[in-house]
Symmetry: C2
Subunit: 145 residues, 2 copies
Protein backbone atom coordinates (compact mmCIF):
# COMPACT_ATOMS: atom_id res chain seq x y z
CA UNK A 1 0.00 0.00 0.00
CA UNK A 2 2.85 2.34 0.89
CA UNK A 3 4.47 1.70 -2.54
CA UNK A 4 1.14 2.45 -4.23
CA UNK A 5 0.93 5.83 -2.50
CA UNK A 6 4.59 6.43 -3.41
CA UNK A 7 3.76 5.77 -7.06
CA UNK A 8 0.65 7.93 -6.84
CA UNK A 9 2.76 10.68 -5.26
CA UNK A 10 5.22 10.56 -8.15
CA UNK A 11 2.30 10.60 -10.61
CA UNK A 12 0.90 13.61 -8.74
CA UNK A 13 4.23 15.38 -8.90
CA UNK A 14 4.50 14.76 -12.64
CA UNK A 15 0.95 16.03 -13.16
CA UNK A 16 1.80 19.06 -11.02
CA UNK A 17 4.76 19.87 -13.28
CA UNK A 18 2.53 19.39 -16.32
CA UNK A 19 0.01 21.75 -14.73
CA UNK A 20 2.72 24.35 -14.18
CA UNK A 21 3.77 24.02 -17.83
CA UNK A 22 0.15 24.37 -19.01
CA UNK A 23 -0.18 27.45 -16.79
CA UNK A 24 2.96 28.92 -18.39
CA UNK A 25 1.60 28.27 -21.88
CA UNK A 26 -1.68 29.83 -20.86
CA UNK A 27 0.11 32.92 -19.53
CA UNK A 28 2.03 33.24 -22.81
CA UNK A 29 -1.21 32.98 -24.82
CA UNK A 30 -2.99 35.50 -22.57
CA UNK A 31 0.02 37.82 -23.07
CA UNK A 32 -0.31 37.45 -26.87
CA UNK A 33 -4.03 38.25 -26.72
CA UNK A 34 -3.29 41.35 -24.63
CA UNK A 35 -0.76 42.47 -27.27
CA UNK A 36 -3.33 41.98 -30.06
CA UNK A 37 -5.89 43.95 -28.04
CA UNK A 38 -3.32 46.69 -27.32
CA UNK A 39 -2.69 47.12 -31.05
CA UNK A 40 -6.43 47.57 -31.55
CA UNK A 41 -6.60 50.09 -28.70
CA UNK A 42 -3.65 52.06 -30.15
CA UNK A 43 -5.58 52.44 -33.45
CA UNK A 44 -7.50 55.72 -33.04
CA UNK A 45 -11.16 56.20 -34.08
CA UNK A 46 -10.23 58.59 -36.87
CA UNK A 47 -7.13 58.51 -39.08
CA UNK A 48 -5.44 61.30 -40.99
CA UNK A 49 -5.08 60.20 -44.62
CA UNK A 50 -2.55 61.90 -46.86
CA UNK A 51 -3.27 61.04 -50.50
CA UNK A 52 -0.57 61.94 -53.02
CA UNK A 53 -1.26 61.52 -56.74
CA UNK A 54 1.29 61.90 -59.53
CA UNK A 55 1.19 62.39 -63.26
CA UNK A 56 4.67 61.72 -64.57
CA UNK A 57 6.09 63.59 -67.54
CA UNK A 58 5.91 61.68 -70.83
CA UNK A 59 9.73 61.87 -70.91
CA UNK A 60 10.10 60.10 -67.52
CA UNK A 61 11.50 56.59 -68.01
CA UNK A 62 9.90 53.48 -66.44
CA UNK A 63 13.15 53.05 -64.46
CA UNK A 64 12.84 56.55 -62.99
CA UNK A 65 9.18 55.89 -62.09
CA UNK A 66 10.23 52.68 -60.32
CA UNK A 67 12.95 54.59 -58.46
CA UNK A 68 10.34 57.11 -57.26
CA UNK A 69 7.96 54.35 -56.16
CA UNK A 70 10.75 52.53 -54.28
CA UNK A 71 11.93 55.76 -52.61
CA UNK A 72 8.36 56.62 -51.51
CA UNK A 73 7.76 53.08 -50.23
CA UNK A 74 10.96 53.30 -48.17
CA UNK A 75 9.78 56.36 -46.19
CA UNK A 76 7.62 54.49 -43.61
CA UNK A 77 10.73 52.61 -42.40
CA UNK A 78 12.55 55.93 -41.98
CA UNK A 79 9.81 58.18 -40.52
CA UNK A 80 7.99 56.66 -37.56
CA UNK A 81 5.09 59.15 -37.78
CA UNK A 82 3.91 57.34 -40.95
CA UNK A 83 1.51 54.78 -39.43
CA UNK A 84 0.22 53.32 -42.71
CA UNK A 85 1.32 53.26 -46.33
CA UNK A 86 -0.16 51.85 -49.52
CA UNK A 87 0.21 52.69 -53.17
CA UNK A 88 -1.06 51.62 -56.55
CA UNK A 89 -1.55 52.64 -60.16
CA UNK A 90 -4.83 53.96 -61.48
CA UNK A 91 -7.08 51.39 -63.13
CA UNK A 92 -10.39 53.25 -63.03
CA UNK A 93 -12.53 52.58 -66.10
CA UNK A 94 -14.26 55.97 -65.65
CA UNK A 95 -11.57 58.13 -67.26
CA UNK A 96 -11.86 60.81 -64.56
CA UNK A 97 -8.27 60.55 -63.24
CA UNK A 98 -7.21 63.88 -64.76
CA UNK A 99 -3.97 62.30 -66.02
CA UNK A 100 -2.97 61.10 -62.51
CA UNK A 101 -1.59 57.57 -62.66
CA UNK A 102 0.15 56.87 -59.32
CA UNK A 103 -1.54 57.06 -55.92
CA UNK A 104 0.23 56.90 -52.53
CA UNK A 105 -1.87 56.95 -49.37
CA UNK A 106 -0.04 57.62 -46.12
CA UNK A 107 -1.76 57.46 -42.75
CA UNK A 108 -0.92 59.61 -39.74
CA UNK A 109 -2.39 59.47 -36.26
CA UNK A 110 -2.14 63.22 -35.69
CA UNK A 111 -1.57 66.53 -37.43
CA UNK A 112 1.59 66.78 -35.31
CA UNK A 113 2.80 63.58 -37.00
CA UNK A 114 2.15 65.11 -40.42
CA UNK A 115 3.89 68.32 -39.31
CA UNK A 116 7.01 66.27 -38.49
CA UNK A 117 6.78 64.35 -41.79
CA UNK A 118 6.41 67.26 -44.22
CA UNK A 119 9.77 68.98 -43.53
CA UNK A 120 11.53 65.72 -42.49
CA UNK A 121 15.03 65.34 -44.05
CA UNK A 122 14.09 61.91 -45.45
CA UNK A 123 10.96 63.41 -47.06
CA UNK A 124 13.09 66.20 -48.50
CA UNK A 125 15.53 63.60 -49.84
CA UNK A 126 12.57 61.87 -51.53
CA UNK A 127 11.73 65.21 -53.18
CA UNK A 128 15.24 65.22 -54.62
CA UNK A 129 14.64 61.73 -56.09
CA UNK A 130 11.45 63.07 -57.73
CA UNK A 131 13.55 65.76 -59.42
CA UNK A 132 11.75 67.03 -62.52
CA UNK A 133 10.04 63.68 -63.29
CA UNK A 134 6.55 64.98 -62.38
CA UNK A 135 4.13 66.78 -64.67
CA UNK A 136 1.44 67.20 -61.99
CA UNK A 137 0.92 66.42 -58.33
CA UNK A 138 -2.34 66.56 -56.39
CA UNK A 139 -2.43 66.12 -52.61
CA UNK A 140 -5.54 65.82 -50.44
CA UNK A 141 -5.52 65.09 -46.72
CA UNK A 142 -8.55 64.20 -44.62
CA UNK A 143 -9.56 62.91 -41.22
CA UNK A 144 -11.63 59.79 -41.80
CA UNK A 145 -15.34 59.73 -41.03
Amino acid sequence: MKRLYQKLFILGAVLCMSACEAKNDEEKIVEEIKEIEMEEVVQPDSLLRHVVMFKFKDSTSPEKIQEVVDAFAALPSKIEQIKGFEWGTNNSPEGLNDGLTHVFTLTFHSEEGRAIYLPHPDHKAFGAVLGDSIDKVVVVDYWTH
Copy 2:
Protein backbone atom coordinates in the same frame (compact mmCIF):
# COMPACT_ATOMS: atom_id res chain seq x y z
CA MET B 1 4.83 8.13 6.52
CA LYS B 2 1.81 6.44 4.96
CA ARG B 3 -0.42 9.38 5.95
CA LEU B 4 2.11 11.78 4.42
CA TYR B 5 1.93 9.93 1.06
CA GLN B 6 -1.87 9.89 1.35
CA LYS B 7 -1.85 13.67 1.81
CA LEU B 8 0.62 14.07 -1.05
CA PHE B 9 -1.59 11.87 -3.23
CA ILE B 10 -4.61 14.06 -2.50
CA LEU B 11 -2.53 17.16 -3.26
CA GLY B 12 -1.45 15.52 -6.52
CA ALA B 13 -5.05 14.73 -7.44
CA VAL B 14 -6.13 18.33 -6.76
CA LEU B 15 -3.23 19.64 -8.88
CA CYS B 16 -4.19 17.20 -11.64
CA MET B 17 -7.74 18.58 -11.67
CA SER B 18 -6.32 22.10 -11.73
CA ALA B 19 -4.12 21.07 -14.66
CA CYS B 20 -7.15 19.75 -16.57
CA GLU B 21 -8.96 23.02 -15.94
CA ALA B 22 -5.94 25.01 -17.11
CA LYS B 23 -5.82 22.84 -20.25
CA ASN B 24 -9.51 23.61 -20.92
CA ASP B 25 -8.89 27.35 -20.51
CA GLU B 26 -5.91 27.05 -22.82
CA GLU B 27 -8.02 25.29 -25.46
CA LYS B 28 -10.64 28.04 -25.23
CA ILE B 29 -7.96 30.72 -25.65
CA VAL B 30 -6.37 28.89 -28.61
CA GLU B 31 -9.87 28.70 -30.16
CA GLU B 32 -10.29 32.47 -29.71
CA ILE B 33 -6.91 33.13 -31.35
CA LYS B 34 -7.90 30.91 -34.30
CA GLU B 35 -11.12 32.94 -34.69
CA ILE B 36 -9.14 36.21 -34.68
CA GLU B 37 -6.77 34.76 -37.30
CA MET B 38 -9.72 33.55 -39.41
CA GLU B 39 -11.12 37.10 -39.51
CA GLU B 40 -7.75 38.30 -40.79
CA VAL B 41 -7.69 35.55 -43.43
CA VAL B 42 -11.08 36.71 -44.78
CA GLN B 43 -9.50 40.14 -45.52
CA PRO B 44 -7.75 39.77 -48.92
CA ASP B 45 -4.07 40.65 -49.37
CA SER B 46 -4.84 43.49 -51.76
CA LEU B 47 -7.83 45.84 -51.82
CA LEU B 48 -9.31 47.83 -54.69
CA ARG B 49 -9.54 51.47 -53.58
CA HIS B 50 -11.89 53.83 -55.40
CA VAL B 51 -11.04 57.44 -54.47
CA VAL B 52 -13.58 60.08 -55.50
CA MET B 53 -12.74 63.76 -55.03
CA PHE B 54 -15.14 66.68 -55.52
CA LYS B 55 -14.83 70.38 -55.98
CA PHE B 56 -18.28 71.87 -55.48
CA LYS B 57 -19.47 74.90 -57.39
CA ASP B 58 -19.22 78.17 -55.46
CA SER B 59 -23.01 78.43 -55.84
CA THR B 60 -23.63 75.07 -54.10
CA SER B 61 -25.17 75.62 -50.66
CA PRO B 62 -23.79 73.96 -47.50
CA GLU B 63 -27.16 72.16 -47.21
CA LYS B 64 -26.74 70.67 -50.70
CA ILE B 65 -23.17 69.60 -49.87
CA GLN B 66 -24.45 67.88 -46.71
CA GLU B 67 -27.15 66.15 -48.78
CA VAL B 68 -24.48 64.84 -51.17
CA VAL B 69 -22.29 63.61 -48.29
CA ASP B 70 -25.25 61.86 -46.63
CA ALA B 71 -26.34 60.24 -49.91
CA PHE B 72 -22.82 58.99 -50.62
CA ALA B 73 -22.43 57.68 -47.06
CA ALA B 74 -25.71 55.76 -47.43
CA LEU B 75 -24.46 53.73 -50.43
CA PRO B 76 -22.53 51.05 -48.48
CA SER B 77 -25.76 49.99 -46.75
CA LYS B 78 -27.45 49.66 -50.16
CA ILE B 79 -24.68 48.07 -52.27
CA GLU B 80 -23.06 45.03 -50.67
CA GLN B 81 -20.05 45.11 -53.03
CA ILE B 82 -18.81 48.22 -51.15
CA LYS B 83 -16.61 46.60 -48.49
CA GLY B 84 -15.24 49.79 -46.97
CA PHE B 85 -16.19 53.47 -46.94
CA GLU B 86 -14.61 56.58 -45.46
CA TRP B 87 -14.77 60.25 -46.29
CA GLY B 88 -13.43 63.56 -45.15
CA THR B 89 -12.70 67.15 -46.13
CA ASN B 90 -9.32 68.32 -47.30
CA ASN B 91 -7.11 69.87 -44.60
CA SER B 92 -3.73 69.60 -46.32
CA PRO B 93 -1.47 72.57 -45.54
CA GLU B 94 0.39 72.05 -48.86
CA GLY B 95 -2.13 73.79 -51.13
CA LEU B 96 -1.83 71.07 -53.79
CA ASN B 97 -5.49 69.92 -53.68
CA ASP B 98 -6.33 71.49 -57.08
CA GLY B 99 -9.58 72.90 -55.66
CA LEU B 100 -10.78 69.45 -54.52
CA THR B 101 -12.32 69.66 -51.03
CA HIS B 102 -14.24 66.40 -50.45
CA VAL B 103 -12.71 62.92 -50.57
CA PHE B 104 -14.63 59.63 -50.52
CA THR B 105 -12.68 56.37 -50.47
CA LEU B 106 -14.62 53.21 -51.24
CA THR B 107 -13.07 49.75 -51.00
CA PHE B 108 -13.94 46.79 -53.20
CA HIS B 109 -12.63 43.25 -53.01
CA SER B 110 -12.74 42.70 -56.77
CA GLU B 111 -13.09 44.46 -60.10
CA GLU B 112 -16.33 42.50 -60.50
CA GLY B 113 -17.61 44.23 -57.35
CA ARG B 114 -16.74 47.61 -58.82
CA ALA B 115 -18.37 46.62 -62.13
CA ILE B 116 -21.61 45.94 -60.23
CA TYR B 117 -21.32 49.22 -58.28
CA LEU B 118 -20.70 51.63 -61.17
CA PRO B 119 -24.00 51.10 -63.05
CA HIS B 120 -25.96 50.14 -59.88
CA PRO B 121 -29.39 51.86 -59.65
CA ASP B 122 -28.54 53.22 -56.18
CA HIS B 123 -25.29 54.67 -57.52
CA LYS B 124 -27.22 56.21 -60.42
CA ALA B 125 -29.71 57.67 -57.91
CA PHE B 126 -26.76 59.21 -56.06
CA GLY B 127 -25.68 60.82 -59.34
CA ALA B 128 -29.13 62.43 -59.51
CA VAL B 129 -28.62 63.87 -55.99
CA LEU B 130 -25.31 65.37 -57.17
CA GLY B 131 -27.19 67.14 -59.96
CA ASP B 132 -25.19 70.16 -61.12
CA SER B 133 -23.61 70.84 -57.70
CA ILE B 134 -20.12 69.78 -58.83
CA ASP B 135 -17.50 71.96 -60.50
CA LYS B 136 -14.93 69.16 -60.81
CA VAL B 137 -14.61 65.46 -60.03
CA VAL B 138 -11.45 63.37 -60.02
CA VAL B 139 -11.55 59.59 -59.59
CA VAL B 140 -8.57 57.27 -59.16
CA ASP B 141 -8.79 53.55 -58.44
CA TYR B 142 -5.90 51.33 -57.43
CA TRP B 143 -5.12 47.87 -56.11
CA THR B 144 -3.16 48.35 -52.90
CA HIS B 145 0.50 47.40 -52.66
